[in-house]
């Protein structure tokens, strides 16, 4: 799906959410949620091809795919936490949004620790 359709969905979603915000704010939120989901689902196929091409590129040049897999997983966690916290902020629930972001950061840290460990080991080996 090319970019123009995605922009069209976004604008239509925004306008219809605005239309309903005064009367039925809860259904207006559902419209923004639906638009966000539809846009991501329409972009998921090219995204998965790029991710798999990155992985195959890494394998071809002998890079360690473990770390690249972790980086991709971190990107996934970052994206979904940002999506959920933005939806919560749309509802006006800033507190819940910050909790979700906090949990996302902790999870990303947990995934990042082995990479940092490997990096430190490498540095220690390099130093005389």
């Amino acid at each position: 799906m090319d970019i123009l359709q995605i922009i069209g969905i976004g604008i239509i979603g925004a306008v219809s959410a605005l239309l309903l915000r005064s009367q039925r704010p809860e259904i207006a939120l559902q419209i923004t949620l639906a638009a966000g989901v539809v846009i991501f689902l329409s972009i998921a196929v090219p995204l998965s091809t790029t991710v798999s091409s990155i992985l195959s590129l890494a394998q071809k040049y002998g890079l360690d795919t473990g770390y690249i897999g972790t980086v991709i997983r971190i990107i996934g966690i970052a994206y979904i936490c940002q999506f959920a916290s933005e939806v919560c902020r749309d509802c006006g629930e800033g507190a819940i949004a910050s909790k979700i972001e906090f949990a996302g950061k902790v999870l990303i840290l947990i995934y990042a620790i082995p990479i940092v460990e490997a990096l430190l080991q490498m540095i220690v080996e390099i130093l005389p």
């Binding site: 359709q5 069209g8 969905i9 239509i12 979603g13 219809s16 239309l19 309903l20 009367q23 039925r24 809860e26 259904i27 207006a28 559902q30 419209i31 949620l33 639906a34 638009a35 989901v37 539809v38 991501f40 689902l41 329409s42 998921a44 995204l47 998965s48 991710v51 897999g69 991709i72 997983r73 990107i75 996934g76 966690i77 994206y79 979904i80």
Partner: protein, 64 residues
Amino acid sequence: MGVDLVFQIAAIGIIVAVLNQVLIRSGREEQAMLTTLAGLIVVLFMIIGQISTLFDTIKSVFNL
């Protein structure tokens, strides 16, 4: 899928809003509340299906 999902939800929202006003004007507040609830539940069912596909896609793309 796609734009028609957004249009369907907008249509349901508009219908529920109009019905709500009509019922409130005719003095039946509790039925207006019920129609609002019904509209919300219908929209929720549509959205939850889409959100589950979204989560499955994200799991498969980022192999979380």
